[in-house]
């Protein structure tokens, strides 16, 4: 089977979002998760610029330049939404009022260390935004990222090589070929893409893997990527 595309990864993460929770979705792949939360769920999406209750993207004629999310996307509000200022929004994040944040990453270590803000691009200025606040203080940090770099190197490691975002914070990792959790002993595999053996998954990972007794196939629906 082909590795999951980003929409299939978002679908898989969406299956684990619980009804009634408050979630923050990182820029890039994670914002796509909200499309795959069951429609009858009351899930509150927080955006760190102060929106509590982000809805779907706005249509062209409803777009409002004052109603944007943290990724500068013009969005709508869900019923029951509120808007607060940045100080209150980060009090919400730092005070432990976010149930789950889903973040992209460059690397995750087997002790839960996260590296997702500085990939050392020469001459480009730094960009940290709210990543360190979310990683340090959300009640659960889930990462979604491709299992390997474009060059084929591992992103799941014994220790991160890139600058850290926060220490010992990641609880779960959703990749294009596996679903894992971070346990006190290291990575524990819960699901593997059919066609990939445990040995191959281990070869493509930079830390020792353990396998859950109920480890099963990673199955998602076929979801086509929109044409670029």
């Amino acid at each position: 089977m082909k590795p999951l595309n980003r929409l299939q990864m978002a679908w898989r993460v969406g299956q684990d979002i619980e009804d009634g929770t408050v979630v923050n979705l990182g820029l890039g792949m994670p914002v796509g998760v909200s499309d795959y939360v069951p429609h009858d769920y009351d899930v509150v999406v927080q955006s760190e610029n102060g929106i509590i209750g982000v809805g779907p993207l706005a249509s062209a004629n409803a777009a409002d330049s004052d109603l944007v999310d943290a990724g500068s996307r013009k969005v709508t509000l869900r019923a029951g939404a509120t808007i607060i200022d940045s100080a209150a929004s980060f009090a919400m994040i730092r005070g432990g009022h976010i149930d789950v944040t889903i973040l992209g990453a460059f690397e995750v270590a087997s002790n839960g260390d996260l590296a997702n803000w500085d990939n050392r691009i020469p001459d480009k200025g730094p960009l940290v935004g709210g990543a360190m606040d979310l990683a340090a203080s959300a009640r659960a940090v889930w990462v979604m990222m491709e299992h390997n770099t474009r060059k084929g190197g591992p992103r799941l490691l014994e220790a991160c090589t890139l600058p850290l975002t926060a220490v010992r914070c990641v609880k779960r990792v959703y990749t294009d070929i596996a679903v894992l959790s971070v346990m006190p002993q290291g990575f524990l595999v819960h699901e593997i893409l059919p066609g990939i053996s445990r040995e191959e998954l281990q070869r493509r990972t930079g830390a020792t893997l353990a396998f859950a007794p109920d480890c099963k196939d990673l199955i998602t629906p076929d979801i086509e990527l929109p044409e670029a």
Binding site: D69, S72, D113, D123, L127, G129
Partner: protein, 224 residues
């Protein structure tokens, strides 16, 4: 004497911001940039400014014009990365040449340090950034088994913020996500100037005021 905070022009609204000032600029993701006030500050031309602004490079903000004009000595922000992968932004060019100082903070630390200044708190502990490069050299203390970083507050000489509606007392309302850093910056700065869409000749009903006029010194009605 009756309070009247409205100023006729953007130039009058920013008058007095001088060389070496620490200037806070509100705005995030295209909402809440006081770009007409920033343009007036560019015309006024003070030098050696320290800008306190979430992004040094946002394409919908005029912040980069102040930087490109050589008016800025230092930027305190959470984002300084240009959007163009091929070319460097005005900030990045100066930064690469060592001609501008940068203090990058996690966004929550950035705004909490501003909020703290406005609340008379000189420093505070936060778990954000512990164990990372951004906390290097900062004091760490353990409370109840968790490590926290000591962060200092950030006071401003002036704040340029954008709001929706104002009355003559300087009371403000904000539209949607326009609020972002405005209220915290207003409490933390000595001279607070609000650029607004419209002016209300009658007092804004108290329960609708989102930032009290006691934190606002001057109003410039810029229109939509």
């Amino acid at each position: 004497m009756a309070i009247e905070k409205r100023r006729a022009t953007a130039a009058e609204a920013v008058a007095g911001i001088g060389d070496g000032a620490t200037v806070m600029l509100s705005g995030f993701a295209g909402a809440g940039f006081a770009n007409q006030l920033v343009a007036a500050l560019l015309d006024l031309g003070p030098r050696n400014l320290t800008l306190v602004v979430n992004s040094a490079t946002h394409r919908l903000s005029n912040t980069h014009e102040l930087i490109a004009a050589g008016m800025v000595r230092k930027v305190i922000c959470s984002a300084a990365r240009g959007h163009d992968k091929a070319a460097l932004s005005a900030f990045e060019v100066l930064y690469k040449e060592g001609k501008i100082e940068l203090e990058v903070l996690p966004q929550g630390t950035f705004v909490e340090s501003i909020r703290a200044a406005g609340a008379g708190i000189p420093a505070y502990f936060t778990p954000t950034g512990f164990g990372t490069d951004l906390a290097a050299g900062k004091e760490v203390r353990n409370f109840d088994g968790r490590d926290y970083v000591l962060e200092q507050s950030i006071p401003g000489d002036a704040a340029l913020i954008r709001a929706d509606l104002a009355d003559r007392w300087g009371n403000l309302t904000f539209r949607h996500a326009q609020m972002n850093f405005g209220p915290a910056m207003a409490t933390a700065s000595k001279l607070v100037v609000a650029e607004v869409r419209a002016f209300s000749d009658t007092p804004i009903p108290p329960e609708q005021v989102m930032l009290s006029g006691v934190f606002v010194d001057r109003i410039f009605v810029a229109g939509a």
